[in-house]
């Protein structure tokens, strides 16, 4: 098949501008999906940095009972911002916007996404939304203090800058929608000849499923946010109980988006896992179709369970048990994936390189997160655990231990391809281990705290929780150290790293057939696909290794 031997003198996309500009403008006005991906990477990483620093301050405050470094109001705004930044600015756009943009067209054998200019627009909308979040911090009234769920009626009573901050979330929604539209159309229209649906890499499948959630679910939060803003500005009665509105209806609408959104977060990550495991096991994925279909299944059944966030809200007992039942059913496709991944390692030829180590820690951490999801999915237990630290632990395990871990796995897997440089592998292994230890120290105690009855969003807590909170805070430092380390050696590798070859790991999906970093047009001519995505017999004809 293609195997275009990367010709040495070829210009990479870094060296070729897509427009008449050079220098910084050739980036800011680019319509090239790879450059846009890199710009997203920079922007999203910066906001992630803000989010984690806030997280560290929160942990610092919670280190001891009573006031440690800040007032209650400050703490309340910090956890709100932490949630808003992590959810809307980091984890929802994270994988699709960075790695989806960069690799989805390449893996399909296309030269770009379907609507390149829309893609750039979506980037700028993201930036505008992010700036609005930051601006809202400094306006009179003070930063938003509602929690990232901005439940009614608190969010219409508080005098802080709610409208501005949630308007930012509204804007960010547009960015998400446009990316989704782009990806769905790309997958339908721009597959290379021979790239049938079942020859698509699984990362494409999961990004495709994600894109559908982005399109269908995001508008619901859009309208909800808009209504809250209108309600605050004009006193229109929509949700306000003082005017007859129903605060629980607000919660329904909020979670109709926000539950599917958790699958926006995890699905692309699952796609990356399905790429990394075959590559380092050097054998085809086990149960390709089952994994592909389960991505679609997760995307669609994700709409059936939102009210499991509302088991104690006072909705009808009937819908409580219906939603609990559905929640359990919906957990099954995720389980299927885990089993398939482990089975893929069976009789492989496993080379546990850095990306693979990240994936192993993902499987462990995400399983903990997912399985504790079952604990809170059961009615009797959720009544006790709802809105306690148990839930906080659950979602950090799935979001950070799941998607966050895979964010780093993807970065390490595709770093040589994206930047043409290789990082220091010994450092990388150390950082995985540190990450793993710090992570569990930071979040595992929260399960116990939650079970003991420590509610979330608490600025202060009873003395009996003190020792576990302290452990947790210390864990946050180890974790922070690990991440710092990663960022440090990656930046070092950008400047001083060894040159990477076209295919350092021996992967066979299309991106490994082209040079590192890829040329401007990805492919000189559109390839014709003749193999299944993880057919390692191709390796014989390919050059690989470092």
């Amino acid at each position: 098949m293609i195997n275009e031997a990367a010709n040495p003198g070829e210009k990479s996309f870094y060296q070729v501008s897509t427009n008449k500009h050079t220098g910084i403008l050739s980036w800011l006005l680019t319509v090239d999906h790879k450059r846009i991906g890199i710009m997203y990477l920079i922007a999203i990483l910066s906001f992630f940095l803000v989010g984690v620093v806030i997280g560290l301050f929160m942990r610092w405050e919670l280190m001891f009972p009573g006031k440690t470094i800040m007032e209650a109001q400050t703490y309340n705004t910090l956890f709100t911002l932490h949630g808003v930044i992590m959810i809307f600015l980091f984890i929802i756009p994270g994988l699709p916007a960075i790695f989806g943009n960069f690799f989805l067209p390449i893996q399909l054998g296309a030269k770009d996404v379907a609507f390149p200019r829309l893609n750039l627009l979506s980037f700028y909308i993201y930036v505008i939304g992010a700036i609005l979040v930051l601006v809202s911090l400094f306006l009179p009234g003070g930063p938003i203090d509602t929690g990232w769920t901005f439940y009614i009626p608190y969010s219409i009573r508080t005098s802080t800058n709610v409208s501005m901050a949630i308007f930012a979330a509204f804007i960010l929604g547009f960015s998400s929608i446009l990316t989704g539209i782009n990806f769905v159309t790309t997958v339908h229209r721009l597959r290379a000849p021979g790239m049938t649906w079942f020859r698509m890499p699984l990362f494409v499948w999961s990004t495709y499923a994600t894109a559908w959630i982005q399109i269908i679910a995001t508008p619901v939060i859009g309208i909800t946010i808009l209504l809250v803003i209108i309600e605050r500005a004009f006193g229109v009665g929509i949700f306000d109980p003082a005017l007859g509105g129903d605060p629980i209806l607000f919660q329904h609408l909020f979670w109709i988006y926000s539950h599917p959104a958790v699958y926006i977060m995890i699905l692309p990550a699952m796609g990356v896992v399905s790429e990394i495991i075959p590559t380092f096991s050097r054998r085809t994925i086990f149960g390709y179709k089952q994994i592909a279909y389960s991505s679609l299944a997760i995307a669609f059944v994700g709409y059936l369970v939102w009210a499991h966030h509302m088991f104690t809200s006072g909705m009808s007992d009937t819908s409580r048990w219906i939603f609990s039942l559905l929640t359990f059913i919906v957990a099954l496709p995720s389980g299927v994936k885990i089993f398939n991944w482990v089975a893929t390692m069976y009789k492989g030829s496993i080379d546990p390189q850095v990306p693979f180590l990240w994936v192993m820690s993902f499987i462990f951490l995400f399983s903990i997160g997912g399985l504790t999801g079952l604990v809170v999915g059961a009615l009797a237990t959720d009544v006790h655990l709802h809105d306690t630290y148990f839930v906080v632990a659950h979602f950090h395990y799935v979001m950070f231990g799941g998607t966050g871990t895979i964010f780093f796995a993807a970065l390490h897997y595709w770093f040589p391809k994206m930047f043409g440089k290789m990082y220091n592998k010994r450092f990388a292994v150390i950082s995985v281990v540190l990450f793993f230890i710090g992570f569990n120290m930071l979040y595992f105690p929260k399960f116990i705290l939650g079970y003991m009855g420590m509610p979330r969003r608490y600025y202060d807590y009873l003395p009996e929780f003190a020792s576990l909170q302290l452990v947790s805070t210390i864990g946050s430092w180890i974790l922070a150290g690990a991440i710092f380390f990663v960022v440090g050696y990656l930046i070092h590798a950008l400047y001083k790293g060894k040159k990477a070859t076209a295919n350092p790991w021996g992967g066979v999906t299309l991106e490994w057939h082209i040079a590192s970093p890829p040329p401007m047009e990805n492919f000189h001519e559109i390839p014709t696909i003749t193999h299944e995505p993880y057919d390692f017999s191709q390796l014989k004809e390919m050059k690989y290794g470092e």
Partner: protein, 96 residues
């Protein structure tokens, strides 16, 4: 990848005008029916007529009838999603 970009699809002038007449007729029906009291069924009838009207608009004015089948799948998917959302929300309000 060959797409016939200039393929003609869509109805003739007469079809379009006929559909329009149909839509106006349905509008007058729904207004008249609203005048008569049908009790519980008023809402149902009104929505039924609205659904028929939108069927016309989607199929003829919006050319879905002539579009590739995948478009119909898309519409079905988003329609079903919306329906499911309504249904599940009402499990709360009906059984309160």
């Amino acid at each position: 990848m060959e797409h016939n970009n200039t393929e003609k699809h869509g109805g003739s002038y007469t079809t379009l005008v006929l559909v329009w007449i149909g839509l106006l007729a349905l509008t007058s029906i729904t207004v008249t029916v609203a005048g008569i009291s049908l009790g519980q069924y008023t809402l149902f009838v009104a929505l039924l007529i609205a659904a028929v009207k939108s069927g016309f608009v989607i199929n003829i004015f919006m050319h879905i009838k002539f579009e590739e089948p995948i478009f119909k799948v898309f519409i079905a998917v988003s329609g079903i999603t919306l329906f499911v959302i309504f249904l599940l929300t009402f499990f709360d309000f009906i059984y309160r």
